[in-house]
Symmetry: C2
Subunit: 93 residues, 2 copies
């Protein structure tokens, strides 16, 4: 666990993130962290499923953490802090 290979899921196509994960694993990583928040969470699950089912069947979902981030007023607008859900999925092989 000394190395942390993280892939933060945003608005790019699923395959971009899939490729990032595969690159980590091909580089010898034993674990890859996939993080997403808000609407990108669905895409994070897609990434996990494509990696596992199409490319690296020996990779397993080791851990799934669900949480909440507070977005400050500055970041979002002027309606005060907003909550956004987050997910962190650890893939391991």
């Amino acid at each position: 666990m000394s190395e942390t290979n993280s892939v933060l899921i945003g608005k790019k196509p699923v395959m971009n993130y899939v490729l990032a994960c595969i690159t980590f694993f091909h580089g010898g990583a034993k674990e890859v962290n996939i993080k997403a928040r808000g609407k990108a969470i669905s895409r994070a699950i897609d990434v996990v499923e494509v990696v596992r089912r199409r490319f690296l069947p020996d990779v397993k979902v080791a851990k799934v953490n669900i949480g909440t981030d507070q977005i400050s007023a500055k970041e979002k607008g002027s309606n005060g802090p907003t909550n956004v859900s987050t997910i962190e999925i650890t893939l391991a092989r």
Copy 2:
């Protein structure tokens, strides 16, 4: 585990599903299953977080399963079967 209290997340507002979960727990349920697929997955995470943080702090995420459903051509259009990601979150207290 004889009873299965399931809440299937769709396109309604988050609070509708939160209320469904709370109703199960107030009715004495020890576990509630939250299921979602595709873009509703983000909403499922929102539901979990609102239930845990705002209403029932003693409820924990017991299990998270990630999977894939095949949608047949009939259901979706004529491009052959499509894959859609699914999530199943078990809340317990």
